[in-house]
């Protein structure tokens, strides 16, 4: 039975384009037409290399809901094609459909910040506000999931607009919010100053450090502290071969520097043992 179902799900059907409707569960809701020309040309030249994913089964009858492959579908429409290769994903509920769509689209370049943020926030709400579950289901890093949730929850409309237009990076928005202690108006101001003074990554980090330690710090203080170079003591420790290898692997996997991972590990341990609040 399971085997039949698997075979059914991987079988490719030629489905009339006219029988397909876009699903609300598709995470790509903005700028769907962006850079569609390249895809249109590619499909015209090589055909469609990967079928689109539809909800339900072929026996359900039209209209079929498109879960994954919106741009491929739009390209087919633009080319005036009558049919499109498609696979059926079975009876997916809205959460499963959103997860499939996000997981498929997340690692592509074209997914906008707005679409990704909307989808992550939707799943976070539907999955019992469990950020780890969202990360596990979508294959995104927990850090990234938390960044989306944090920004969506706290950032002002002004900051969100800047994020949507690409004027501000999510990392900077998060830094500004953290430095401002979650005060969205103060964060807006800090973002403007970051841009105006062309702060470096090191300066932004110091701004966050100072803001986290002094939630009442004024904007001027935060900027002054950001620019104040500090003496940073580093403790040299000897690691055994396996420990060193594990650290390298963790850094590679988390795409962070070994030092960042070591600092995080020490900080977690100190907090866990009650030495750090």
């Amino acid at each position: 039975m399971a085997k039949d179902s698997l075979a059914e799900k991987s079988k490719v059907y030629l489905v009339p384009v006219a029988d397909i409707r876009l699903s609300d569960e598709n995470v790509r809701q903005h700028q769907q037409d962006k850079e569609l020309d390249d895809l249109v040309q590619s499909i015209e030249k090589h055909g469609l290399l990967q079928p689109v994913l539809l909800k339900g089964s072929p026996t359900d009858g039209p209209p079929f809901e498109l879960i994954v492959g919106q741009r491929r579908y739009l390209a087919h429409r633009r080319l005036g094609r009558k049919d499109i290769p498609a696979v059926f994903g079975g009876p997916l509920n809205d959460i499963q459909a959103k997860i499939r769509s996000l997981a498929e689209n997340m690692h592509r370049v074209q997914l906008t910040y707005e679409d990704a943020a909307d989808a992550v926030t939707f799943l976070y709400t539907k999955l019992g506000r469990n950020d780890r579950k969202v990360a596990a289901e979508t294959g995104m890093s927990l850090k990234k999931v938390r960044q989306y949730i944090y920004i969506e929850k706290i950032a002002s409309e002004e900051t969100k607009k800047k994020l949507h237009s690409g004027k501000v990076t999510p990392a900077d928005a998060q830094r500004a919010l953290r430095a401002a202690g979650g005060d969205s108006a103060k964060a807006d101001h800090l973002l403007q100053l970051m841009e105006k003074h062309k702060l470096t990554t090191y300066e932004k980090k110091r701004m966050v450090e100072h803001g986290s330690a002094h939630p009442q710090a004024s904007i001027e203080d935060l900027l002054t502290e950001a620019k104040r170079v500090k003496v940073e003591p580093s403790i040299v420790v000897n690691l055994s071969g396996p420990e060193r290898q594990a650290l390298e692997q963790a850094a590679g996997k988390l795409r962070a520097s070994e030092e960042e991972v070591a600092v995080q590990a020490i900080s977690d341990w100190l907090r866990d043992k009650g030495f750090l609040s």
């Binding site: 990967q50 090191y202 580093s234 403790i235 040299v236 000897n238 390298e248 590679g252």
Partner: protein
């Protein structure tokens, strides 16, 4: 054709997850291109070898580096996929100066990230100015080494002179002795000189500091890999 694809996938499985790789990033990127062509897209490769498309895209981006930087990657003087990928985000003409400074040890991977980020927000600033801004804004590193001080060698002046002879007096930021525990704070240059002296003597840095502290000559030991 099938054999070529199998070979490419095997190479990618063996090379993309490891920290210690046998192949350079450029070789991996070339095998990735073979697999991508054969399977029709990066997503298909990602599915076959169980790695994210995003990670593969980073490996593939090495092919977009300028020729000079590619040479450094081929020689494995630049061997981090993260660093190589970040370098591709700079204009072709700006990649090599940054890569060379990285290879010479004048920049580290955090500096490269900071340079790429600042370049994005300050497109009109010269590259030299960008690098200078990043370096000037970096915190000053001090390297702390702890060591035990023998009971008969707790003369701070003498200890400082002995340390200074190895690392240079100006590179000792501070030296404290509390009972049997000594702490020395060195500048980055001091740490480098200590590491070089330890290497020359076939000792670890810690063993050399202990020797300077007055514990006598220690047997040369197996150096740690760093």
């Amino acid at each position: 054709m099938e054999r070529k694809l199998d070979e490419a996938l095997a190479v990618l499985i063996a090379s993309t997850r490891r920290v210690r790789r046998k192949l350079s990033l450029l070789q991996i990127a070339e095998w990735l291109e073979v697999a991508r062509r054969e399977l029709g897209g990066l997503q298909a490769v990602a599915e076959r070898i169980g790695l994210s498309e995003e990670m593969l895209r980073q490996f593939g981006s090495v092919r977009n580096l300028s020729p000079g930087v590619k040479k450094l990657v081929a020689q494995r003087r630049i061997d981090s996929v993260d660093v190589a990928h970040r370098l591709t985000k700079l204009a072709v003409g700006e990649q090599l100066p940054v890569a060379r400074a990285l290879v010479r040890g004048q920049l580290n991977s955090d500096d490269v990230r900071a340079i790429v980020s600042l370049r994005r927000s300050a497109p009109t600033l010269s590259l030299q100015r960008i690098i200078q801004r990043v370096k000037d804004s970096e915190n000053i590193r001090e390297y702390l080494a702890y060591f035990a001080v023998p009971p008969d060698a707790r003369d701070k002046g003498l200890l400082r002179a002995r340390l200074g002879a190895v690392v240079g007096d100006r590179n000792i930021r501070s030296l404290t002795i509390r009972g049997a525990l000594g702490t020395v704070a060195l500048s980055a240059e001091g740490r480098g000189r200590l590491a070089q002296a330890a290497k020359d003597s076939g000792l670890t840095k810690r063993a050399l500091v202990n020797q300077i502290a007055g514990w006598g000559v220690q047997k040369p030991c197996q150096r740690d890999r760093r």
